[in-house]
Structures are given as C-alpha cells and as structure tokens.
Symmetry: C3
Subunit: 263 residues, 3 copies
Amino acid sequence: MNYTLPFIPERPAQPRNSGITMMMDKGLSIRQVEDYLSANKELTDVVKLGFGTSYLTVNIEQKIKLYKEAGMKVYLGGTLFEAFIVRNMFEDYIRLLDKLKLDCAEVSDGSIVMPHDKKCEYINTLAKNHTVLSEVGSKEAGIIIHPAKWVSMMNSELSAGSWKVIAEARESGNVGIYRANGNAHTILINKILAKVKRDDILWEAPQKAQQVWFIKLLGANVNLGNISYDDVIPLETLRLGLRGDTFFSYLPAELNKKKIKGE
Amino acid sequence: MNYTLPFIPERPAQPRNSGITMMMDKGLSIRQVEDYLSANKELTDVVKLGFGTSYLTVNIEQKIKLYKEAGMKVYLGGTLFEAFIVRNMFEDYIRLLDKLKLDCAEVSDGSIVMPHDKKCEYINTLAKNHTVLSEVGSKEAGIIIHPAKWVSMMNSELSAGSWKVIAEARESGNVGIYRANGNAHTILINKILAKVKRDDILWEAPQKAQQVWFIKLLGANVNLGNISYDDVIPLETLRLGLRGDTFFSYLPAELNKKKIKGE
Amino acid sequence: MNYTLPFIPERPAQPRNSGITMMMDKGLSIRQVEDYLSANKELTDVVKLGFGTSYLTVNIEQKIKLYKEAGMKVYLGGTLFEAFIVRNMFEDYIRLLDKLKLDCAEVSDGSIVMPHDKKCEYINTLAKNHTVLSEVGSKEAGIIIHPAKWVSMMNSELSAGSWKVIAEARESGNVGIYRANGNAHTILINKILAKVKRDDILWEAPQKAQQVWFIKLLGANVNLGNISYDDVIPLETLRLGLRGDTFFSYLPAELNKKKIKGE
C-alpha cells in the first residue's frame, strides 16, 4: 500500500479462502497478461479462461504458467466442460487438464441438462486431483430454480468436493442470481446465505452495482467473480471503502456525521 | 487449435471470402497492435481505422504495415472518405491512400447526401487499384430507407466494383439495420438476403446479441464487422459454438437431448 | 497530423488553458501508461488517478513521473482527498502530495458534507503550492443543488484559487450535471454558463453522447473530463469534426448542402 489510512478493512493474506476476486480472461495476449500481473498480482486469486476461449488461445501453456507462477488458481470456463460432456468426452477433458497442467477445474450445468447425482460424481472424480469450483444456476433467462433447490444443490456439491460453489450470473450479469435488469434476487440470495457457509460461495458480479451490493451486504471479504481485467483494481477500492459507493461502510459512527445522507 | 472437438463448424482458410471478421481500430498504439496480432492474427480478416482516427494516429505507416504483414486488409473509415468528398477533395483522398500504401478503401454516404450514380462512380474509380468496401445505410437515427432501395443500392455497388457491401450500424449498433434498442430489423434483413448474395454482405454487428442473432440466422461463416479489438476472440467462440449462446447450434439431434429448453 | 484538411477547428498549443482533455486512469499498469502516451501524448492535458486507486498502484512514483514527463498535470481523485478529510488528516494529505511529487490536487465534497468556507480554505491552502481543481456537485443520485448555488460555489472556489472547477458527473455520467439517464441538465448548465467563465469549467463527460452535446454547445475547445483511456482519440475526432456526430459542425454553409438532415 502506498500510504496508511485508518478504518480500511483488513484483507486476508494470499492464498486466501475468503475475499476472493476471480478475474475472467476472455482472450488477453501474453503481453497483456504480463501487464495485468504487474499491476494486479496481489489483488487476484482466481483466473477463469472464459467459455471456449482456450480453444483459440495462442501460447496457452505460457499463459497458464504466468498466472500460476503469480500464485493464482486457473481454470477453464464451465461452458467448455459442458462442451466436452455433451459430446460424451469426460475422459478427454481430464486428459486436457493434464496436458495443460491445470490443477483447478469447473463443473457446471448452465447450458445442458445434467442429473444432479451425475454432476456431483464429476465433482467427486475431479476433486481427487483438482481444486473444483462448481456452478449453480442456468444461463437461460427464463429458467427459475427454487431457492430450496439452490441451497440443496450448493450443499451437496460442496459435500461432493467443491472448493467453492459459484452462483451463476454470466458475463453480462443478468441471469441466475440477478434479474434481467441486473438487480439482485434479494430473497433468493438471503435464503442461500441462511443455509450455505458464506465463504464457500463465489458470487458472479460483473457489474459495478452488483459488486457494491454484495460488499454492502457481506463486507469487504465477500468472494466475487466474473470481474473484467480492468475492473479488478476498481473493485478492490470498493472493498476497501476508497470509492464513493462504499465510502462510509467502514467508518466509525463519530466520523459518519459527515455523511451526505443516510444509505 | 489447442484441442480437438467434433461438431465444430469449419472456417475457410485465410485469405477468405466468407466468414470474415472486421475489427474496428479506434486508436490502438503500436504496441497494442502487436499485442492484438499476437493473439488474434488467425481470426481477423479486415481492419478498419475508424472514422477520422487516422488523422491523429502516431506512426500510422508502421501500424498499417503491421496489419498488412499479418495478412489483413486495412482501410480508412468511411466518414473520412466523406470528409474528403464534402470538401471536394477526392483526388487528395486517392493521393492519401497512395501515400499510406493502402490497397483497400471504403466508399460510404452515411453522413452526406450523394447521388447514387456518383457513389458508384467513386467505387468504380477506386476499384481499379483498390479492394473497395462500400457501405449502405444512414448514420442518422431518423432516416428510413425502403428495403427495395437497400437491395438495389447494394447490387449496383457490387456491380460497380465493390468487394463487399457493408450494412451500416455505426460503432454503437443502433441505426441502419438495427432499431434504436439494438434489435435487428428482421424484415429488412430478410428482404436483403432474398436478393443480394450473402457472401457479398458484411454486417456491422458491434453488440454481442447482434453477433449471436446473425450467427443463428446465417451460420458460423457470416461476415461481421465493427467488432471491438477485445471482442474478436469472444466472437470466434460464438461462431464455433463454444459459448453459451450458440452452444447447441452445430450439435446433431441425438446430442441435443441435453438442451435445457428450445431456442 | 497525418494529412491536411480545411475547416478543421484549431486547437490551442499545449500546455493549454482551454480545450482540455482530462483522462481518468483507473489502474493502468506501467506498460499500459507507456502505450497510452505513445499514442495520446498530444491529446491529453490532465490525468486523474481515479478515486482511491493510488492506494494500490504498483510503482506509483514511476507512473506519475511518466505522465509528468509527457507534460501532463496529474492529480489524485477527489474521493481520496475526502477520505483523508473525513479522517481529519489534511496534514497527512499534503505530506502525501509531497511524497508523490504531485504539483496538482483536487478538492471535492462529493461524498462528505463540508461547510463551503472550509472547502475554500482547503483550496486556498493547497493553491499556494499546487494547481488546484475543485469539484462541485454531489455523487449521490437524489441530491439537487440549486443553479444559483452551483454558480456561487464555482465562483467562490475560483476566487479561492482553483485553476478549474469540475462539474461532477462521476465515472458513470448519471449524477450532478446529468439526469439518471445520462441526459444533460440543460437549464442548469446554461445558468452556470451565464455566470461562470467557460474556460474555468471542466465538465465531466464520460459518455460519448455527453461529449457530443458539449462540443455542439461550446465548440471544439470545451474542457472535458472523466474520459476513459481508450476514448481520448475518439473524443479528439469529435472535437475536430472527424466523426459522424460532429461532421458538419465546422463546415461553411456552402458545403452544408450535403447534410442529410438538419441537426
């Protein structure tokens, strides 16, 4: 940190289990990854190589190596996992992870129908040799999953071996835990929080208003994902109360007298 | 490609006549161009130096050389062509193309009124020594052109020597072939497709939903343009069915049983 | 400039007092700053290290040095000033400016309540050794300030020593001088212009439509701020009439006959 200020919330040291930021790489070049790491190394915990971009990435081994050497968990987007599964190629998928030296993997069913037992079996198999993130929620706009089902799926996936369960929002932030207009499904999220350990959940929150909403609800050390590479530093200022939206979140009452209006 | 998957649509080899991606450069620095090429060379066919940015570009000869050496067609945005025409400086424009060693040019009338005969004359003159892309459609929001006129303009411009005709959408994607909200003018587009050879049309489609819409309508190898430099890889995953939105587009019926709902 | 065209508005030479472009740096890496400068040096006058990003910036001294050597004024975002003030740490803030060798500073009250006398005192104190930009307008969406108050605050801040007064819009462009939908508060802005010297005002205008609106109202050499690093070149083409939106702004009447419709 370049200077000292009181009332800045503490962030756990890396590698950490809470307060995680997951960045979504949609096709950065090698030099862009180097640039990114030079400025964001301390702020990034997990990197997702989004959807099927890994199919096209030039020098993918080098990219993965750069992220791993910087201490980050790297995994292939869940849509790619599903692209293998729908083609009945799970064994090939494991071989791909080996070939790319990935020790992290996502299991999801956002695009395809998958019996939940089967999903937990995939998690369980992969968890033997990999850190698994599994995702709950559909990518389709019209699909509503009952809160009780979200809870039971999340908890059984954690039992099956997931390190974190991801709450789906897509890159756009308008499905799953959000409405079409990007607003959070408050009741759903509160019901999930009542029954699932909060450090075990990674909330996709691509839009700034969504990040602010979760930080105000759960504090600086909420796990957030699908963050664009140029939003990781701005997100960290939100976590720390160094941006207008969360400016008063960590100040003691006697300093709040300067607040412009109630929040 | 970093791995093999069945049911991925084939893309023509470069240089290609269909399945073209046109990227819009709004002011990338030389090193950003190098970064771009290192990751997107195989995916980019045409580069537009957007509107009048070329007036300001530092080391423009070097930039053009980098793109051309990577096998791409490069041209100056149509608004600049019109800026010369409105000032009665067509000869100067040709000299500029020579000076910049550009073998590609755009002819458009999105901002100015131009008799269509005259437009075809410009196309014809430039086509003697250049690959010409000509653009149909107004940049003004309120201007409606009848579908029959779109068709006749497109076909006479192709006859005059255009390599492709571009269907206008601007960088924002809310005029020309799209409504103010970004939705496609379906009837207009279908009427154009009934009368103009589809490989001869390059559709401006800056928004992801517009790219998805055209890929679903015309397949992986539709010509798309005004793509932002960081959207070219995501667009390629859409073309290949490696992203949620087009996940089932190329799968055989027996694998579609895992589809979450009809599309 | 790469070629010569008539009817392009003149821009004052740098360092300039009007026609200023203020770019907002939200966390560029050192190499990204170098890239930026290689393409945008002549177009950028002022750089804001946005909100509290400076707390996290790796090699911040080097970054500031790069911008300053390129002839730019550099300052820390007003939210950071307020973060020090709300903690009663004004002396520490001055020490920070010294340590970072910043000769430019922002004074704002967008997040906190501050008696206006006190604000002018801060301006006056900082102006002894720094170029001061002070900002008027709240970051809160619901806060309405009467036009007469905007005017009196702006003028007394200029009297207190501000080089420019900034009209608040946030990074998003939907508070202060804009409505929630991004449209300008026309009456407010005209009342300000009737009473405050126009070269003394720097309008935050992050959205393209807002930039166009101000250029059409006040000409090529309006002062505009909160411009994203990749919008500075596009903004310059708007200022110069080399983009569709301002294409006819500087053309003499006899060339306007080619205008598609009235503007």
